[in-house]
């Protein structure tokens, strides 16, 4: 069963076709990677899925439901959640508050509940704070809840961003370069962590990644974009041998004989 299906999704910026008829299918509980050179349209695709951009053509389905053209907050409420390539935490809010904002769709209390502090609101709030602390512990940030997001070290900010994304209880999690700027040991930890997300929480993961070592070790399926086109799709083994992929990465002429160096 597929969690996400995109059918011929096309996005143009002026004359530039950032995405051209992208067909993509993400299987339930898969770890699926999108790779491609800079400017291939990977993040644009994420933005189309999450509703931040509206695609000019094509349709996107979340399970059975057509989510094309829905606003980002609606898409999030339907179970899609994401992180950003350049970390975008609410910098001047504490770690716990960041996660509480992530829980927004699951909390009910409104203006008057907030003012009057009726028992239901209070119960909901304390449960939410408890849950937020649990999430912090899950991502390995126990005890950091009251620190400003911007004062956390880089690697922890990445984890906090993921915790915030998990707070909305997504069925599909989009990770945009989760290991960017990390050293080898941090990267390895992140790989384990992403597996843990899938194995323990059963979340389907779609990720954009540049480090080939990560991509090849973690992905079950890889889609390769280049200039807005999907040029290949397959298992890590298949992709490593694909001559079009090698050409896209290393240029024409490199395709013969250099394949094994890609990894």
């Amino acid at each position: 069963m597929s969690v996400l299906v995109s059918k011929k999704v096309t996005k143009r910026f002026g004359g530039l076709e950032a995405l051209a008829k992208i067909d993509l299918e993400v299987k339930e509980q898969a770890i699926h990677s999108i790779i491609g050179p800079n400017g291939a349209g990977k993040t644009t695709f994420f933005n189309c899925v999450t509703g931040f951009y509206t695609s000019e053509e094509g349709e996107i389905f979340l399970g059975e439901r057509n989510i094309t053209g829905l606003s980002p907050d609606r898409v999030t409420r339907l179970g899609v959640s994401r992180t950003y390539q350049n970390i975008r935490l609410f910098k001047n809010m504490t770690a716990v508050e960041n996660i509480l904002v992530g829980m927004h769709p699951h909390l009910r209390s409104g203006l008057f509940g907030g003012i009057l502090h009726d028992p239901r609101t209070m119960r909901e709030e304390s449960a939410a704070v408890e849950e937020a602390n649990r999430l912090l512990q899950f991502v390995g940030l126990k005890g950091k809840g009251d620190l400003m997001a911007k004062n956390l070290p880089y690697g922890q900010q990445r984890r906090l961003e993921i915790a915030r994304a998990l707070a909305s209880k997504p069925t599909l999690l989009l990770l945009d370069e989760p290991t960017a700027g990390m050293n080898p040991s941090e990267t390895q930890e992140m790989v384990y962590f992403i597996r843990k997300l899938r194995d323990e929480l059963g979340i389907t993961i779609l990720l954009i990644e540049h480090q080939m070592r990560v991509v090849m070790s973690i992905s079950e399926l890889i889609s390769v974009l280049d200039f807005g086109q999907k040029i290949a799709e397959g298992t890590p083994d298949e992709i490593q041998k694909n001559s079009r992929v090698i050409e896209a990465y290393l240029g024409r002429g490199a395709a013969s004989g250099l394949g094994e160096k890609v990894q």
């Binding site: 931040f52 606003s71 907050d73 709030e125």
Partner: protein, 564 residues
């Protein structure tokens, strides 16, 4: 980081020249001249002299502080150099005035002014004295840095209090006149004009001694107290503050009640705008519109002059607030997509539209055009008509208490977090499932609620609503008081309002210079304390948590920043 001595001397020189320039400005604007006979201490020190010498002193202290890495002598030298260079610049004025007639350009550059600047002596002798006095004041200021902090604090507090009491003599006498016999305990401190010399000495000694004594005591930081004690202390503080607020108008009299009413209305507006600007980060420059809508709606509904409706204030007030809230939503709808500067301009336009509509001939039958609406009803409470400043004070106080409670609760609620998230990053907030339309409209509506409420009280206070009461300046003032107090901070709104709206009333004596002083205060304030007078705990963290982390003390973050 040790700087070479020559740089420090240059810095001292430069600081001194800036101080001199400040004195020149004050002199040429005419402040020093016009306050030469206004005594702070009768016969000893005049306001003019303080305005003339205080900048020299303050800049010298500043220069000396930078040179503290030098020896003691070096520090004093730096102060003296700064003071001397200030005096040098000031001395140019009478010297230049001797050679050419400056009055064509500077109306205040009169022989009387020169006389003040040269201490009433012959020109040459005067200039020499001026230079000496400058250097001495500078050295004295620098010496202040070298004495033990406890004594320094006592001395500076004592000086500040003497100046303050001398400055505010008028107002203090007004208050004293209400105290009957008790007044005689204090009256002898004052002369016709400023403090009496004996009074000045008394104030100096008493304040100095009290400061010295109290700064010597060990103080337990509230944060380190056990929670139970902390709560008790909180409760005591709140009760004490409540009692003081309740008896304040009775003690101070009508003049101050009037000032407090104005300040209070601005606090109410500030609390509302703080939700829009401080919490949600939506820059609104047309906030006066809601104030006007509140006032005019009450006018239309209660004024017999118009004869349209005959409601009482209490019946009209809810309508007025609802109309203001609706206006908030109506303003909110078209600006949902706008951010920052664009939003500011559109809201500015909205504020002006409302004012111009009130002024227009077209709506004259309902809004009264430039004559406004008169005979707006006073509120009745039981058999009591709330009509004078003191009674209105209590009405406003209740309004503020409710507003503070609501704002404080909202801030830590789910809604408050959504607003904060929008302020931080609108796109990500939306990606977190926050409905931007509803959340922003709620911010505008909540802000408009308090603006409207404040407007209804304003209308009933004046018993009239005139279009000119609702100029752009009201919006700017409210925004400024939020910034001065500290963006997003609730106590900041109160403090900002007291300083910004209260001080011009207290400075009335300065007449035409009032807004010059006020403007200068704003500039200095923003340079020295950009985070505001009473910043939100969060903002303090923003600025200082990184430092704490560096010191390794952040393992126990301040409890008040934590979520309960």
């Amino acid at each position: 980081m040790k700087k070479p001595n020559s740089t420090l001397w240059k810095q001292a020189l430069r600081t001194g020249l800036i101080g001199g320039a400040v004195v020149l400005l004050l002199a040429l604007v005419g402040i020093i001249g016009s306050f030469k006979d206004r005594d702070i201490i009768r016969g000893w020190v005049s306001m003019g002299q303080i305005l003339f010498l205080a900048p020299i002193l303050l800049f010298a202290i500043n220069a000396a502080r930078r040179a503290e890495s030098l020896s003691k002598i070096g520090t004093i030298m730096a102060g003296a150099i700064s003071g001397f260079s200030s005096a040098l610049l000031v001395a140019l004025l009478p010297l230049l005035g001797q050679a050419i007639n400056l009055r064509a350009m500077f109306a205040n550059a009169s022989p009387e002014l020169y006389k003040i600047l040269t201490f009433g002596q012959e020109l040459l002798l005067g200039v020499i004295i001026l230079l000496l006095v400058g250097a001495l004041i500078g050295a004295a200021g620098a010496a202040m840095l070298l004495i033990p902090p406890r004594i320094r604090k006592a001395l500076s507090q004592a000086v500040v209090w003497v100046i303050l009491l001398g400055l505010l003599r008028e107002l203090i006498m007004v208050v004293l006149s209400r105290w009957g016999v008790v007044a005689y305990l204090f009256r002898w401190l004052f002369a016709q004009n400023g403090l009496a010399p004996i009074g000045a000495v008394t104030v100096f000694v008493v304040v100095g001694a009290v400061t010295y004594w109290s700064s010597g005591r060990k103080r337990v930081a509230v944060n380190t107290l056990p929670p139970q004690k902390k709560r008790r202390r909180m409760l005591i503080t709140i009760i004490a503050a409540g009692i003081i607020l309740l008896i304040l108008p009775l003690v101070l009299g009508t003049f101050f009640s009037e000032i407090l009413d104005t300040v209070g209305l601005y606090i109410l507006m500030g609390l509302g705008l703080n939700i829009v600007v401080g919490f949600a980060g939506l820059l609104d420059l047309g906030y006066v519109a809601f104030y006007a809508i509140g006032a005019y709606t009450v006018g239309i509904l209660t004024s017999p002059e118009l004869g349209l409706f005959h409601l009482t204030y209490w019946q009209a007030m809810p309508f007025a607030v609802v109309v203001a809230v609706l206006a908030g939503v109506i303003l909110g709808l078209p600006v949902l997509k706008m951010r920052g500067d664009y939003l500011a301009i559109v809201t500015l336009g909205f504020g002006e539209i409302i004012r111009i509509l009130a002024l227009s001939d077209w709506l004259k039958p309902w809004l009264g055009g430039s004559q406004g609406i008169q005979q707006i009803a006073h509120p009745w409470l039981g058999g009591l008509e709330i009509k004078n400043q003191t009674q209105l004070y209590y009405l406003i106080l209740v309004g503020i208490a409710i507003a503070i409670f609501i704002a404080w609760r909202l801030k830590d609620s789910r809604m408050g977090r959504s607003w904060m998230a929008i302020r931080e990053d609108e796109d990500v907030a939306q990606a977190m499932g926050i409905n931007l339309v509803a959340t922003k409209l709620l911010a505008f509506a909540s802000g408009a609620f308090f603006g409207g409420l404040s407007g209804t009280i304003f209308a009933t206070k004046l018993t009239a609503a005139y279009p000119h009461s609702f100029s752009l300046f009201v919006s700017i003032n409210v925004l400024s008081l939020i910034i001065i107090g500290g963006m997003g901070s609730i106590p900041g709104v109160v403090v900002g309002s007291l300083v910004l709206m209260g001080s011009p009333e207290l400075l009335r004596e300065f007449a035409e210079y009032r807004y010059l002083v006020y403007g200068a205060l704003l500039v200095v304030m923003m340079l020295m304390k950009p985070e505001g007078l009473w910043p939100e705990a969060r903002r303090r963290l923003e600025l200082h948590e990184a430092e704490e982390l560096a010191l390794g003390t952040a393992s126990q973050p301040a409890p008040d920043s934590a979520r309960q």
